[in-house]
């Protein structure tokens, strides 16, 4: 094992985490102003700020590991250089979808950071301890709403079950393995996607069942895969164009 392998594996992990957070924050921010009740505009506004804030810290960590600065990473990379999963790219849709995606993604984030508190890369372990505290509130928010709606009236129950059927296979893309899983594990950087997935399955299943929802038995996860290798859904191109609209089109030499 040499430092180059260690850094390559670490950076691959950091890129996908930061990209997930940034893109999820982007999508979540789209709810500000159009939520079902004003309190939810505000809640999603806070969550979006936390996510973008988290991604910034991780991009800064990448910069310290020799990558470009955070602004360049977000505003100038090409589509295939982004390593976010498909789940976070999907448009905001309806509130049932939003809450289900929120629930699935936040639980994965929480467990990931729980595991990373023991990372051999100490800057990441320290960050993970801090993030965990913040994500706890996101989980609380997601669980509360999922329970309210899954146990609400006939319409909302039906909607949450269809949202689950739609989102569950997509969520599997979060755990798409990297080529460096073995190094990550042996170097104690991260316990790996498979370990993350099994804890996630256990926790989400228990909660979903407690609110009366059925896990779909669809085993076709092909649609969800590829994000970690830089292949994205049809929704990602337009999203990236939007991110870059002012920064690149108006005047790339300027500082804003």
């Amino acid at each position: 094992m040499n430092d180059i392998d260690y850094n390559t594996a670490l950076k691959e992990l950091l890129f996908k985490m930061a990209d997930d957070q940034y893109i999820y924050g982007h999508r979540t921010s789209e709810w500000i102003g159009i939520g079902p009740i004003i309190e939810e505009d505000i809640a999603f506004g806070s969550i979006a700020q936390d996510k973008v804030g988290h991604s910034l810290n991780i991009y800064q960590m990448l910069h310290q590991l020799g990558e470009a600065d955070a602004e360049k990473l977000v505003f100038t990379r090409n589509e295939n250089e982004y390593k976010c999963c498909h789940l976070v790219e999907l448009p905001i849709g309806e509130y049932d979808f939003a809450i289900m995606r929120h629930f699935m993604f936040e639980h994965a984030e929480y467990i990931r950071f729980e595991m990373l508190t023991e990372s051999s890369y100490h800057p990441l372990a320290n960050l993970a301890k801090k993030y965990k505290g913040e994500i706890k509130y996101h989980i609380f928010h997601a669980n509360t709403w999922l329970k309210l709606l899954a146990e609400g009236n006939e319409e909302s129950k039906g909607r949450m079950q269809s949202a689950l059927n739609q989102v569950y296979p997509m969520a599997m893309g979060i755990f798409e393995e990297s080529p460096y899983e073995e190094i990550l594990r042996s170097e104690h950087i991260f316990k790996g996607e498979a370990a993350l997935k099994s804890v996630w399955m256990e926790r989400t299943e228990e909660f979903l069942q407690s609110v009366g929802l059925q896990i779909p038995n669809n085993k076709d996860f092909s649609e969800a895969m590829g994000g970690r290798k830089g292949y994205h859904t049809e929704y990602f191109g337009p999203l990236l164009k939007e991110i870059k609209e002012v920064f690149v089109t108006e005047d790339p030499s300027a500082s804003w």
Binding site: I32, I42, V52, F75, V246, A254, S255
Partner: protein, 329 residues
């Protein structure tokens, strides 16, 4: 953010005339003259309640509608710093709406009723938000100058007579101070930036100048006297006084940044401490307020989307045994 405090006299003329008990009225006016605050359970003239509801409701609507032109730029904000700032700002504005709807509910109108009246076009919101934010520079003009204008109005209103509204405004003004700071910073970054950026912000300023002049409402000479509302400390300053105060503070700040004001007739008069300017087309102001502005339809369409797509959520969480109770503060 908030628009103007414009009192629509035509609307007021439609109000039924209520004869208040003269003894109670005299006691009420004496309290206000003594600087006391009126609280929700206190006796108040019918017209006082009606005008406050109208004003606070309009203010609340201006906050949620005002979140829209800037909100569409969150995903396009050109740096981490700007993105974080604008997300926090737009979220604050929604929070202001929430506080104001609550303050207004203490007067007996529910949030649902207020939102229904917004959707039906019955209640108004600030005219400025019926203009589009075409480029990122427009966002900086809004963040700097519209928020600045709103602060002039809100600081004055926070000294008004109705307790719950004043307390909400004090918190709001505290947050608005941050909005102004970030707006000014983003605006200055363009004004002092590359030639492209400078041109972008000058064009945006040119577009927004008329709505900014409109912001505080028509000249006092044009509007019917609102003496009673001033005496009751519902309206705290005349439209012209607020506009003069705004221009005296911000015209120099704009010019210091090397930008020009797109009105050759704008002129300060030292003797009267006031400003004159070209006719800003008050007909347009009235057209826009009555629904015929560049973005009225678009803004309400967004609110309709939220209303229709959020209905199932609200229905699912409603407790059928709950009754509406007017909150006390």
């Amino acid at each position: 953010m908030y628009g103007g405090g414009f009192v629509d006299e035509k609307e007021r003329q439609k109000d039924p005339v209520v004869q208040d008990d003269p003894i109670k009225l005299a006691a009420f006016e004496a309290r206000i003259a003594a600087g006391e605050k009126v609280e929700p359970g206190d006796w108040m003239p019918a017209d006082y309640r009606r005008q406050l509801i109208r004003m606070i409701e309009q203010h609340a609507h201006s906050e949620i509608i005002g979140a829209l032109p800037e909100g569409t730029w969150i995903t396009r904000a050109p740096s981490f710093k700007r993105k974080m700032a604008i997300m926090a700002k737009v979220q604050d504005e929604i929070g202001h709406a929430q506080m104001l709807y609550s303050a207004c509910e203490t007067l007996g109108k529910s949030r649902e009723q207020m939102l229904n009246d917004l959707l039906s076009g019955k209640s108004k919101y600030s005219n400025v938000f019926n203009y589009p934010a075409i480029t990122w520079a427009d966002v900086t003009v809004i963040g700097f100058l519209i928020d600045a204008a709103a602060i002039v109005n809100q600081v004055l209103n926070s000294k008004g007579s109705y307790g719950p509204y004043c307390r909400a405004l004090e918190r709001i003004c505290y947050e608005e101070a941050f909005h102004l700071k970030q707006g000014q910073d983003a605006f200055a970054a363009l004004a002092l930036g590359t030639p492209t950026q400078k041109a972008l912000v000058q064009e945006a300023l040119n577009r927004w100048w008329k709505p900014i002049i409109h912001f505080f409402g028509p000249s006092d000479k044009m509007s019917v006297h609102s003496e009673k509302l001033m005496r009751w400390k519902v309206k705290m300053a005349s439209n012209d006084d607020m506009r003069n105060q705004f221009l005296s503070t911000y015209v120099p700040k704009i010019q210091e940044l090397g930008l020009s004001i797109p009105d050759p007739n704008l002129c300060y008069h030292e003797e009267s401490n006031s400003w004159t300017f070209s006719d800003p087309d008050w007909d347009e102001f009235f057209r826009v307020i009555n629904g015929d502005g560049p973005c009225n339809k678009e803004r309400l369409a967004v609110r309709w989307w939220a209303e229709e797509h959020g209905r199932w959520v609200r229905n699912a969480i409603i407790n059928p045994n709950e009754r509406y109770v007017v909150p006390l503060a």
